[in-house]
């Protein structure tokens, strides 16, 4: 009796497992289809418009050569890269400073400041864009100078995204700060000599996110760079190739460009995946 029950249970277990394998495999295929499709289209030699079949009839680098020779794609690429590099440095510095101050120090108005930033975050970001646009214009940082302008606005508002880093700092025992202060360190030294070396995962996470974000930003970039093609970032540049007038000539070129953007970002992301997962789960769990 007991033996029979055992076998039936393991049989059931096997069925469940097979079902799960099938489900997950289907899921993964669905999830990967767009990427496979992207690659096929990027290397398609014949016709630049959308076609009715998936597999290209002719494999070639034509689209990439076209990108390089006939479009300012690499210019946009460079714009985005510069923005991303600067943003990685500035935004991480700002986020870490704010997170440390709010996590480790107690001062008058701390709670007020945190609530204030919470409330600010509830305004749709785009609402402030018009005014930001005119402020940047005041400094002459729109259109042809949009690259420094974008760096400035990304970095300027980044202080509000301190939650995840603060959550991480909160888990470092306070007694470490105290021990260091008794050992003779000032708060600044505690920050650089004790907390920073221990916060490596969150620093990598912050830098990574700050680096990746500008590659995908369409909303802000489209407004700030408005009307000046030279200053576009990749998202704004590529977006317009898919509108009605351009799509028949540029669809495969868009795919080639998209691929060129995706490959380095994906590679970076995948190699630092561990830190991303830590940051995201830690952040979600603490809210």
């Amino acid at each position: 009796m007991s033996k029979k029950k055992y076998t039936s249970k393991s049989g059931k277990e096997r069925a469940v497992r097979i079902a799960i394998y099938i489900f997950l495999t289907v899921l993964c295929v669905i999830w990967l289809i767009p990427f496979v499709y992207l690659i096929f289209q990027a290397f398609r030699g014949e016709s630049t418009s959308m076609v009715t079949y998936v597999f290209p009839k002719e494999w070639s680098f034509k689209n990439f050569i076209f990108l390089t020779e006939k479009t300012p794609f690499w210019h946009w690429y460079l714009n985005t890269l510069i923005i991303a590099l600067f943003n990685a440095v500035l935004q991480s510095a700002i986020v870490l400073c704010v997170a440390y101050a709010l996590s480790r120090m107690r001062f008058k108005g701390r709670k007020l400041l945190m609530n204030f930033m919470l409330v600010l975050g509830m305004f749709p970001g785009f609402l402030s864009m018009i005014a930001t646009y005119f402020i940047l214009k005041l400094f002459g940082l729109t259109s042809e100078n949009a690259v420094p302008g974008l760096i400035l606005i990304y970095a300027a508002s980044s202080g509000m995204g301190y939650y995840i880093a603060k959550g991480f700092f909160d888990t470092i025992p306070k007694s470490l700060d105290e021990a260091a202060r008794i050992d003779g360190a000032s708060r600044a030294r505690v920050f650089f000599r004790i907390i920073m070396p221990m916060a490596k995962p969150i620093i990598i996470y912050t830098i990574m996110m700050a680096f990746i974000a500008p590659w995908g930003d369409f909303m802000y970039a489209s407004l700030i760079t408005f009307g000046h093609e030279e200053a576009y970032n990749v998202a704004v540049g590529l977006y317009k190739w898919l509108d009605k007038e351009h799509i028949s000539n540029y669809f495969t070129v868009f795919c080639a460009g998209g691929l060129l953007v995706s490959i380095p970002i994906t590679a970076l992301f995948m190699s630092l995946q561990k830190y991303y997962v830590e940051g995201v789960t830690g952040g979600a769990v603490k809210g």
Binding site: S175, E178, A179, R181, I182, D183, G184, A185, P197, M198
Partner: protein
């Protein structure tokens, strides 16, 4: 190597909770002071105020010649050992110990010499290259101590340094701290909730409860002449037994009658009592478990009791019993010179009589808990929900007694 003086020190948190009331203490140079009390009594807060990790709401703290109230911890020339060791996880043991010296910009060879010396004293020389993660609890504790002693601070602060260790290691480290103290002559302030640690380590002990100092004294004073019921109950295991007693005066002599027993009080208590203008009729009489003595049934002046539980501890037996008058008591009986049969007989007993060793008793005022024979004894604070600040609507907010420190 300095005196520490605390005058009317007070700590009040922003939410109105008072963690330490009016703390006064003069710590002599090279003295080992232990602050002890149940959790939430303010002992750690006091230590952290001395360290400068907690602001002082009132009063004054002096280390050596300096008032340190507004001094940053780094300028106070103190060292501290934390309960969780607080070792810097990204540095090797060597760098952990050297960190404080490096911040003071000592020349490298001097740092090296000092680190090696400290490691020598604590026997951790072969661990210097490791990271804290690779160490056992006891080793971490040693490193934490090493980090503190390497600077030869004026005052050495320890915040429950042994409570994260297991029982066996704790005993061993306790002995090592005593040895260490002889090697490095400096002032120690040591916080613990464990009364055994307090008794074995301290030159003097400060017992605290709810932010008030209950008694300051040598271990002997605290044990033999507790200032109030709280101290009497806190120090010594098993706990002191308390009986209701009636006082009667016969010439210069005072007698306390407990149930069927009459206990003539020792000389010094009688003297103290006769100086009092007013005495309560009933008092609380305290006697430690080892001072209740088994005797044959029917002995004059004996109290009889029913046994509830008998605990065989090996070298002694603890008897939990209830007296004829309905008091729960504990007896401690040394059994080293009993035969196995005698021990067995004792364990199986259901009923016994005992007398109280008169020389050792303490008399307390049941009202405020003070020991009637100790001068200037502190009253036991009434444990009640303390009412703290009234808010803008004039409603009274109640705060729970225990309040985590933030």
């Amino acid at each position: 190597m300095a005196e520490v003086k605390l005058t009317n020190v007070k700590k009040q948190y922003e939410n109105g909770f008072v963690a330490v009331h009016d703390f006064n203490l003069e710590i002599k140079d090279k003295e080992f002071i232990v602050l002890v009390g149940p959790s939430g009594c303010g002992k750690s807060t006091t230590l952290r105020m001395i360290a400068g990790l907690e602001d002082i709401s009132g009063g004054e703290i002096m280390i050596g010649e300096n008032v340190v109230n507004d001094m940053e911890p780094k300028d106070r020339d103190i060292a501290m050992v934390f309960q969780n060791y607080a070792l810097y996880p990204h540095m090797s043991v060597y760098e952990n110990i050297a960190f404080g010296l490096r911040l003071r910009r000592l020349p490298n060879d001097e740092i090296h010499k000092k680190v090696c010396e400290a490691a020598e004293i604590l026997g951790i020389t072969e661990l210097l290259g490791r990271k804290p993660k690779q160490l056992s609890g006891g080793q971490r504790q040693r490193v934490a101590i090493g980090r503190a002693i390497v600077r030869i601070p004026k005052v050495f602060l320890m915040d429950e340094p042994l409570s994260n260790l297991d029982a066996k290691l704790r005993n061993q480290m306790r002995a090592e701290i005593i040895l260490l103290r002889e090697k490095i002559q400096t002032t120690f302030v040591y916080v613990t909730h464990d009364q055994t640690e307090a008794m074995t380590l301290g030159d003097r002990i400060v017992i605290m409860k709810d932010g008030y100092v209950m008694q300051v004294g040598t271990p002997q004073e605290l044990f033999n002449h507790p200032a109030n019921l709280f101290v009497a109950g806190f120090i010594g295991t098993p706990q002191m037994n308390f009986f209701d007693a009636k006082l009667s005066k016969d010439g210069g002599k005072y007698t306390a009658s407990v149930e069927s027993a009459k206990i003539s009080l020792p000389e010094y208590i009688c003297e103290a009592l006769s100086k009092k203008s007013k005495l309560p009729d009933t008092v609380t009489l305290g006697a430690r478990p080892e001072n209740l003595i088994l005797c044959a049934d029917g002995t004059p002046g004996a109290i009889s009791a029913e046994i509830k539980v008998t605990e065989m501890m090996g070298s002694e037996i603890h008897i939990h019993a209830r007296t004829a008058g309905g008091k729960d008591i504990i007896l401690r009986v040394q059994i080293a010179d009993m035969t196995d049969e005698e021990q067995l007989e004792l364990i199986k007993r259901k009923h016994f009589s005992f007398t109280i060793r008169e020389r050792t008793v303490n008399i307390f005022d049941p009202g405020d808990g003070r020991n009637l024979a100790v001068e200037n004894a502190a009253a036991v604070p009434q444990k009640a929900e303390t009412v703290v600040n009234t808010d803008d609507f004039g409603k009274k907010k109640k705060k729970k007694d225990k309040k985590s420190k933030e």
